[in-house]
């Protein structure tokens, strides 16, 4: 469903992606792990065209991602994104945030979008917050609204860019459990995360990225429990046993 072939990307003189080749199948949950600055987020941002890439190919359901082509709109409505810092629209209520894309991009009838928007907010456990504005919500609540906003586009896949990194520790669980339910329902997900527990329990596959290359990838359990590569072993040891 998502295919990356030899993707290169530089910011000025710094090459952040040095030939990434990977694919995500329909219904698969892929967690991307790796140190800060390794290029994890950049991969996600290239997939839905928030960043351009210099060479290689990214295909979403066979369509090439090109952020300057008109086709990018169709790709973005199929591949939603959830951001580290939520990026909810602060001047609109939770429900208005959720229906913004369906009504103003996909031109769905408002009544229909509202009905589904309420159902989605209920699904993420925030039915009673429909009329609250984002600044009135906790970080965990805001991120769950953001997930509902992503779902409202009825996407074929959702990209999560460190969805719990900006949250207070006690709020992480609510967001992860919403994500776990999505995975159980068969949603295709690419998750950049530092939550190794989530990766181990929910992910089908894990990619370990360091220095702009995929160092190691495979079934979640084997990458996390029996990493083959020295850099993976070193990274996991630091993350799992920081002291």
């Amino acid at each position: 469903m998502i295919e990356l072939t030899n993707v290169h990307k530089s910011f000025g003189k710094v090459e952040v992606l040095k030939g990434i080749t990977a694919s995500v199948e329909k219904g698969e949950v892929v967690c991307v792990i790796g140190p800060s600055g390794s290029g994890k987020s950049t991969i996600l941002r290239c997939i839905n065209g928030l960043e351009s890439y210099d060479s290689g190919d990214i295909l979403v359901e066979g369509a090439r991602v090109d952020r300057n082509a008109p086709s990018i709109v169709a790709i973005r409505t199929q591949v939603s994104m959830v951001f580290q810092r939520f990026n909810l629209f602060p001047h609109r209520t939770a429900l208005e945030n959720v229906i913004e894309g369906p009504v103003y991009v996909k031109k769905e009838p408002r009544a229909e979008a509202l009905e589904r928007g309420r159902a989605l907010l209920a699904q993420v456990g925030l039915a009673e917050k429909a009329d609250s504005y984002p600044p009135q919500l906790s970080g965990g609540q805001q991120q769950r609204v953001a997930i509902a906003r992503a779902l409202a586009m009825q996407p074929k896949a959702i990209l999560f860019d460190e969805p719990t990194s900006a949250l207070d520790p006690e709020l992480v669980g609510d967001v992860l459990s919403v994500m776990r339910r999505l995975a159980d329902d068969g949603m295709t997900m690419v998750v950049v995360t530092h939550e190794m527990g989530f990766a181990g329990d929910v992910a089908d596959r894990v990619l370990f990225i360091d220095g702009g290359v995929i160092v190691e990838q495979g079934p979640a359990k084997s990458v996390l429990n029996q990493p083959q590569h020295a850099r993976t072993q070193d990274f996991l040891r630091r993350v799992l046993h920081p002291l």
């Binding site: 839905n48 065209g49 928030l50 709109v73 169709a74 973005r76 409505t77 939603s80 994104m81 951001f83 810092r85 990026n87 909810l88 629209f89 602060p90 001047h91 913004e100 894309g101 103003y104 991009v105 996909k106 600044p135 906003r149 586009m153």
Partner: protein, 217 residues
């Protein structure tokens, strides 16, 4: 003091006709400068080289020319180039263009203050540039832009008096005409000053209201 009140009742009706023109010039140039300023600002942030370059250059040219020269140019020079404007039209056009530069810089500051994440979130749900501006960026930028916008309104009200230099018989010119024919300088210009002040007070209150609201959220 008694003399002042007697003069006031005598001159007020004439001065009021000046007030009407002052209001027309102010509102006209406010609308024009807002519209033009928004266009310049959007061009400036469009990310398209020619547009942002043109807008940046234009803003500097406009800012570098005194309002009074701009008015003279429109009223005295344009007829030679085949475009004859009435004094009122020239005043509104000149002040509108002159102030569009300040409006544009204010709007740009407001737009650029919006978190980049907002724009990315809008793009990520498939919005184009214009829709992102209209639905996401501008509604948030308005709150930031309003307090300085209010100040610009007050400045425009006062600068509308420059229209007197091209024969628009607004408040300042009416005052000058009465003063030079009656020699009652003190009464007349005190009245004129008080009338400008009276017109600014609602605007000052409006600015204060904007600032309170901006500080709220």
């Amino acid at each position: 003091m008694q003399a002042f009140w007697r003069d006031a009742t005598e001159f007020l009706p004439i001065l009021m006709s000046g007030v009407a023109l002052t209001v027309i010039v102010t509102i006209g140039s406010l609308l024009l400068s807002t519209a033009l300023g928004l266009v310049w600002a959007l061009m400036r942030v469009s990310g398209i080289g020619i547009f942002s370059g043109f807008s940046a250059g234009l803003i500097n040219v406009i800012r570098g020319i005194p309002i009074i020269v701009m008015l003279f140019y429109l009223y005295f020079v344009m007829p030679e180039l085949g475009l004859t404007l009435t004094a009122l039209e020239a005043a509104i056009l000149g002040l509108g263009i002159a102030y569009s530069a300040y409006q544009a810089e204010n709007f740009r500051a407001g737009i650029e203050a919006i978190d980049k994440g907002q724009i990315e979130a809008a793009q990520a749900i498939g919005m184009g540039w214009w829709q992102t501006m209209r639905r996401v960026v501008l509604p948030q930028a308005i709150k930031i832009v309003l307090p300085p916008y209010g100040n610009i309104m007050i400045m425009m009200l006062k600068d509308s008096s420059q229209a007197s230099t091209i024969t628009v018989a607004e408040l300042a010119l009416q005052g000058k005409l009465i003063a030079s024919s009656t020699f009652k300088n003190t009464s007349v210009f005190t009245l004129v000053a008080l009338m400008y002040l009276t017109m600014s007070i609602p605007l000052i209150l409006l600015v204060r209201h904007f600032e309170k609201r901006a500080g709220h959220k």
